[in-house]
Subunit: 168 residues, 2 copies
């Protein structure tokens, strides 16, 4: 079957969020084992002017739901950034996976040339659908998932590349 915009987006985004959820589960279990308050991991960051783990999850999920919604031309659901616990972060990921699962291929397929505009940090960005998916959505979801991974590895959580890639 020929590659399509749906195949290059929805299953890819869902898989990454499932991996992110599994990484967070390991982090939570590690905190319990080492008797570390969960907030220590959740508020941890790699530099004073980088986002903490909670914000990495919020952005990874935002880019995922925004990516699917804009490619399909439906409204982007808005979630308040209020998560402070592993359970709340997991609930946000689950909610976005549920949102993504509802898309059908014909909603996304053929969106290669679709005009997509969004504001990021006050700057208006304009893309074709394909440039948006490959130049913004995919690099961003992997960026924030890897940032989550490196924050946790830096804090001694036992993770490996297979946790990030998921089952091959």
């Amino acid at each position: 079957m020929s590659l399509s915009m749906y195949q290059a987006s929805i299953p890819v985004l869902i898989r990454n969020l499932n991996n992110l959820s599994a990484i967070l589960k390991k982090a939570e279990a590690n905190a319990v084992t080492r008797k570390i308050e969960p907030e220590v991991f959740i508020n941890s960051r790699l530099a004073p002017d980088m986002y903490p783990l909670s914000k990495q999850i919020q952005i990874a999920t935002d880019v995922s739901k925004g990516g699917a919604a804009r490619l399909a031309g439906v409204e982007v659901p808005s979630f308040p950034d209020t998560e402070k616990t592993f359970a709340e972060l997991q609930a946000r990921i689950a909610k976005v996976i549920e949102f993504l699962n509802a898309f059908k291929a014909p909603q996304i397929d053929g969106s290669e040339e679709k005009k997509i505009s969004l504001k990021v940090g006050g700057q208006e960005l304009n893309f074709s659908g394909q440039a948006y998916l490959f130049g913004f959505v995919l690099p961003n979801i992997y960026f924030h998932t890897t940032a989550t991974y490196t924050i946790l590895r830096h804090n001694g959580v036992d993770l490996g590349k297979n946790d990030y890639l998921g089952a091959v």
Copy 2:
């Protein structure tokens, strides 16, 4: 134009390597300004059992050249992992960009169902071309580019998301 395996791979890989090169240039300039020996950045890692920056670049380039070569069914060029300076790391990136630039769309297009096998850490992995690109190549190049970015940010190098994403 319909999305194709070529469009989802070669230009995406090249763009990421150009961004990685630009990030390294900023890191090198930062080392000069702060009078830090370049090897400090090049050998820096976020955890004792994570790879240092040099290895992150070596893997990002390996996955890029391996990805293109396997999708096209040509031999994967092998480079010794001997880079110890920014100039040598930049040369490796440039060599892989040159390799990628030589691919023409018909070499990669239609590789969705192509059987691809590779050994990673002694484990044999088997993919279809599409699963290899979206479940291995793309997540890996972004992982190692983001790891490079977070190592440098953790060491105080002034980088922002736009350096990672490149010009939109």
